[in-house]
Amino acid sequence: MPAFINGFKITIRHFFSKRVTMQYPEEKWTVPEGYRGAPYLVKDTENRVKCVSCQLCEFVCPPKAIRITPPGPEGLPGVGNVEKGPKEFEIDMLRCIFCGFCQEVCPEEAIFLMKTYSLNGQSRKEMVFNKEKLLALGGVHQDKIMKWKNK
């Protein structure tokens, strides 16, 4: 009996204390600064793709989630004086482990791990994000470095 009362006390205490659980997914967690979520590509403030297709991230990525198609000798159409950029850039979000190596190795500050932590899709194919999608999700990187501005 005393054991039952003690147990019930704990229950009552928790019943009236502050809630620690969250009604996910209706309610979402506030992601702290510096959180490493999904990696996306960014553009500079003048709308140029910052990635130059150096393929270092493809090389360093531990689960081989990244796949880049270099532009080849023909280059890319409509990019002005940008000498090199990726023809296609794919990240398999099912493979990505959000390790941040790609961001760390990137010499151009073109890829960043953002705050997205929950990615869903109907098929495996849908979870392979292409260049267009990665750039749309990544948005613009606000800083002064503009590699191609004065080339």
Binding site: Q55, F59, E83, K151
Partner: protein, 576 residues
């Protein structure tokens, strides 16, 4: 046999040795060593270091180009024995010869280096390739080379195989002390039809200039402007366009000269490399095939002094695109095939059909682009069926550098094995005539479109059985009753004999496509279906034993084994 061995043998030279000390180790080096042309010249500090396996960082030095000593990267501290007034060496108290380290004459506390690539060694000399002074001098040279260098590595095709990157890692600083504005020079310059130049990346080593002037004899490159604005350029109105331009891309130690063909195709660290042979002419330049995910991306020359030195021609280097073509023959075909078929059933069908062929009614044409092993197996078939055989000669304009007039990679092999008629191609009209009069009823064709070589579609149409193996579709494959998909040479192993009688083997760089198989594989199955003797090959499962068997049975290859040939090749017994 009409082939003769014309390869030069180096004459044995009298060797006078001198004693020097490298890094504290006493070594003996020859007093004279061959220079870039093979002429004997006083041995340099660089050669002495290399002979004991010590690498000397360098940009402008190349073993096959004249020494100019302009990059200063090979600079080193050294010392020479002190000679007394009596012309005798001065000794230390312990009896060892006294060495005077090289110093600036007006400032004896400062070491004075010498460039290792152009400084001859002398008896008793001491070389300090790793001394603090040597390191400091190298660091300074590198720092000055990097002053105006752009931060281009992420977009530079040389990255990963760049000497500037390598030495910067060893001798460089992570930050630049250069606060001024960098000099900007022309970038993405169209130097010729196959070469792009980025002047900002150039370290002005002049290797490209010396190569095209002294090796090729096409003196079109030079340096214009002065000082920090030095720029590599062609003479106005003269494009850099000879058949060897792409070699400058290989020897350019940095990313200044890059190949238009390979430009932005793939970063080099993703390339899988395989030792191979160029199959575009009978010289058989040694190459390295770079591929990724079964796609060939580039050929590069591989050093072999007996064949191509460090070079290869542009036409051979760029002749790989057909391998990646989408319309390759990748499955078994031919008009006698019903539905999906397996290799084993097709081969036994063929053996069945051919077993009924009368002796003298079969002809075999095997390309001199096939490997020795394949030709050897085809020769066995020819003996078995009593067939008339030949290959197709292929010639075009050659040059005095590398390109041979014979554009078959294995004419010598086809002759040695006895598949090719003497002279090659002389049986082709006889075969055509045989078909016309109805004597030849069955043909086996490997790797040739006979409609281009005097046996037209009308004649091929008259045959009772036409068995064809090829890689790309053509008019002959269209008429085949049995079509066997074969492999490009980079998709299999094998050997060729070059125009000088050198047997050279090549390794597999990429996988075979679809259902295609290396010809030697299915040919050895075919031969083994005929029963062991007279073929004797039985269950040959690998290229080594097939080659060794061929060497035993073919006089030209007597005494050779697959293992012995090695990467550099060996001379076959081509004298009759």
């Amino acid at each position: 046999m009409s082939v003769t061995n014309t390869e030069n043998k180096p004459a044995p030279s009298p060797v006078e040795m001198i004693k020097v000390k490298v890094d504290g180790r006493e070594i003996e080096v020859p007093k004279m060593m061959p220079d870039w042309q093979g002429k004997l010249q006083p041995t340099t500090m660089l050669q002495a270091c290399n002979s004991v396996g010590i690498d000397v960082p360098h940009y402008c030095y190349h073993p096959k180009l004249p020494v100019v000593g302009n990059c200063r990267m090979c600079i080193m501290e050294f010392g020479t024995p002190v000679i007394g007034p009596d012309r005798k060496p001065v000794l230390n108290t312990d009896g060892t010869p006294k060495i005077a380290r090289s110093v600036l004459p007006y400032e004896p506390s400062t070491p004075r280096g010498a460039i290792a690539c152009a400084t001859p060694v002398s008896p008793g000399m001491e070389i300090y390739p790793n001394s603090p002074a040597t390191k400091q001098m190298r660091e300074s040279v590198l720092e000055s080379l990097l002053i105006n260098h752009p931060l281009d590595c992420p977009i530079c095709d040389q990255a990963g195989e760049c000497k500037l990157q390598e030495y910067a890692l060893e001798y460089g600083k992570s930050t630049s002390r250069f606060a001024e504005t960098k000099v900007h020079k022309p970038k993405q310059v169209d130097l010729g039809p196959r070469i792009v130049l980025d002047n900002e990346r150039c370290v002005l080593c002049t290797r490209c200039i010396r190569f095209t002037k002294d090796i090729i004899g096409d003196d079109v490159l030079g340096i214009t402007h002065r000082g920090g604005h030095n720029t590599i350029a062609t003479f106005p109105g003269t494009p850099f366009d000879n058949n060897y331009t792409l070699n400058t891309v290989d020897i350019c130690p940095v990313g200044a000269l890059t190949s238009k063909d390979f430009r932005f195709q793939m970063r080099v660290w993703f390339l899988k490399e395989a030792k191979s042979i160029c199959a575009s002419c009978a010289t058989g330049c040694n190459i390295v095939v770079g591929s990724r995910e079964n796609k060939v991306l580039r050929y590069e020359p591989r050093e072999n002094e007996a064949v191509n030195s460090y070079w290869m021609c542009d036409s051979g280097r760029l002749n790989y695109k057909w391998i990646n073509r989408e319309d390759r023959i990748t499955r078994l075909g031919g008009s006698r095939l019903k539905g999906e078929t397996a290799w084993s059933s097709v081969l036994s069908d063929i053996v069945g059909v051919l077993s009924k062929a009368a002796s003298g009614s079969v002809a075999i044409v095997a390309s001199a682009r096939q490997t020795n092993e394949e030709l050897f197996l085809l020769k066995k078939l020819a003996v078995k069926y009593g067939a008339i055989t030949d290959s197709v000669p292929r010639s075009d304009k050659g040059d005095a550098i590398l390109l041979s007039t014979d554009r078959n990679p294995n004419s010598t092999g086809a002759t040695l094995i006895g598949i090719a008629a003497a002279p090659m191609g002389s049986n082709l009209p006889k075969i055509a005539e045989g078909i016309r009069v109805g004597q030849i009823k069955t043909m086996v064709v490997f790797g040739e479109d006979l409609t281009q070589h005097g046996i037209g579609s009308d004649l091929l149409g008259k045959l009772e059985t036409l068995i064809v193996s090829d890689i790309l579709r053509n008019q002959t494959t269209a008429l085949a009753h049995y079509l066997l998909p074969g492999c490009a040479h980079v998709e299999k192993r094998g050997s060729f004999v070059n125009v000088k009688g050198r047997v050279q083997r090549f390794t597999q760089a990429i996988d075979s496509k679809g259902n295609s198989r290396p010809e030697w594989e299915f040919l050895s199955e075919w031969v083994s279906l005929l029963g062991a003797p007279p073929c004797g090959v039985g269950v040959v499962a690998n290229i080594e034993s097939l080659f060794n068997q061929m060497a035993q049975e073919t006089p030209g290859f007597a005494g050779l084994t697959w293992a012995q040939i090695g990467d550099a090749g060996m001379i076959a017994q081509v004298h009759s």
